[in-house]
Amino acid sequence: MIITTVGQGLIMSILGIGLFLTYRILDFPDMTTEGSFPLGGVVSVTAITYGVSPLLATFLGILAGSLAGLMTALLYTKGKIPVLLSGVLVMTSLHSVMLFIMQKASISLYHFPHIFEYGRGIKGAPSQFELIVIGVVALTILIGLITYFFQTDLGQAYVVTGDNEVMARAMGIQTNRMKTLGLMLSNGIVALSGSLMAQSEGYASLNKGIGVIVIGLASILIGEMLFQELNFTERLLAVVVGSIIYQCVIITLIKLGVNTNYLKIFSSGILTMCLLFPMFQKKVKGGMFV
């Protein structure tokens, strides 16, 4: 059970990292996430049932997520619709897109292969260990690529766009292009997370996106509460730790007998506590010195 929990934490931390790129760098609350997460699963699982190899199917899922991000970016940059609303519009319409792709509300992998089979065959490994293997491999590649990206001129231009847009433009950066890039990258990564989650559970469904933005943000904030003064790569790793802790809290709640139908209110409760934490921290500190 520990293995499944950690494995799920690893897979969901990919979602947290995707959100980090928009929420922490651009300060965007990107609701597209709630649509691109299940979309990644739907596209990948459907592709696999059509005989596409799991690896290629996973990439198709990522691509679909990026396209969803592109749609949000177009509504926001060209249509001047606020980013929150743009995300909601895309998230809502993705519901129909997913139904169109699957032709039903959910689709099962049955006996079809999936990406976690690449992670099997380690001698003496406990069952479900492939979740951890694939999770670690995916995260290593992802964090490596993102770290490299932020060391490039393009990556720096992206960070500055979020940090000081006026200055970025004065220095010749087409900030709308950077925001588009960010939304595409973020939703591609979110879709990867959704794709892996669907493949690990053996089915994709429309409803998997509900509340995932809360899980992603909670992972980011738990990581930040635990660790301060981190460099960029460490901050991404903190999201991974945050995500695993979040999954552990949830599994503990389930073990304590909480009805799993009512888990969402606990998800929101955890995130709310994380968001309120800095305020209480200040009050406590302030109280000590007064």
């Binding site: 490039t152 720096q156 200055m167 433009r169």
Partner: protein
């Protein structure tokens, strides 16, 4: 001498709910290389509008703006960054707070360039950045790895100035860049600014409300009033000006 940039019959109108308002009218301005033009004017005189027209934030609604024999009125702010740079009044506006001093400098060294998926190699610039910050004389060189958001206002604004000039701009716009600082720091930054402009032979427009600075620095002085240039003093005329002459424009 060949002009660097000129505005011909420039006009900026804005539509408000019931009427149209002229922010700039009959604007005739020719800027020559190595001009250091001080711009004076009360609130609403059109100083900021003039700067916005030059930087591409605002388009002329009539007239033309010509840079090196080409009309640039259609050119976006981002494109103009290849030859123009700015320092804003608010120290927060000129720097990226989460980036270190070095990162800010490297970022601005590539002003106007296309940003590619290429490693930035920040270590290669260590010595250069040390030298250029050391020359300021305000200990900025000891903060190369400090995020810009943690610097004092004066240091942050001196960094903004470096960022605007580290890649030589054909035209530098200083928009009351010392106004947010305390008198001493403001004076220091103004001296640094003047030194940079002289050493690098920069062409510059500077908005200020300091009459003393307006008289002390620059080789030309423009006075704007209600969207028009009401005075354009040459270097010779400027030498004979006194504070009371300038104040008379404000009443």
């Amino acid at each position: 001498m060949k002009p660097l940039l000129s505005i011909k019959e420039g006009e900026v109108m804005v539509q408000t709910d019931h009427s149209t308002k002229k922010l700039l009218t009959n604007l005739e301005l020719t800027i020559y290389p190595e001009d250091f033009i001080v711009v004076l004017g009360g609130n609403g005189a059109g100083k900021s509008t003039l700067f916005n027209v030059l930087s591409g934030n605002l388009r002329l609604t009539a007239g033309d703006i010509v840079y090196q024999d080409q009309s640039i009125n259609h050119l976006s702010e981002e494109k103009r960054a290849t030859f123009l740079s700015r320092v804003f009044q608010d120290p927060k506006m000129g720097t990226a707070p989460r980036l270190t001093v070095s990162e800010n400098l490297l970022f601005s060294k590539k002003r106007g360039e296309k940003r590619r998926f290429k490693r930035r190699k920040i270590k290669d610039y260590q010595q250069e950045f040390y030298d250029v910050t050391k020359s300021l004389g305000n200990h900025l060189e000891t903060h190369l790895d400090t995020p810009a958001g943690q610097l004092s206002g004066g240091q942050r604004q001196s960094l903004s100035l470096l960022m605007a000039t580290i890649r030589r701009p054909d035209l530098l716009l200083l928009d009351e860049h010392t106004a947010a600082l305390d008198p001493k720091t403001s004076e220091q930054l103004m001296a640094i600014t003047n030194q940079k402009i002289q050493e690098d032979k920069l062409t510059c427009l500077m908005i200020t409300h300091h009459m003393e600075d307006a008289l002390k620095y620059g080789n030309r002085l423009l006075v704007l009033k209600e969207g028009e240039i009401v005075a354009d003093f040459s270097e010779k005329e400027k030498e004979n000006l006194e504070k009371k002459d300038l104040l008379s424009f404000f009443y």
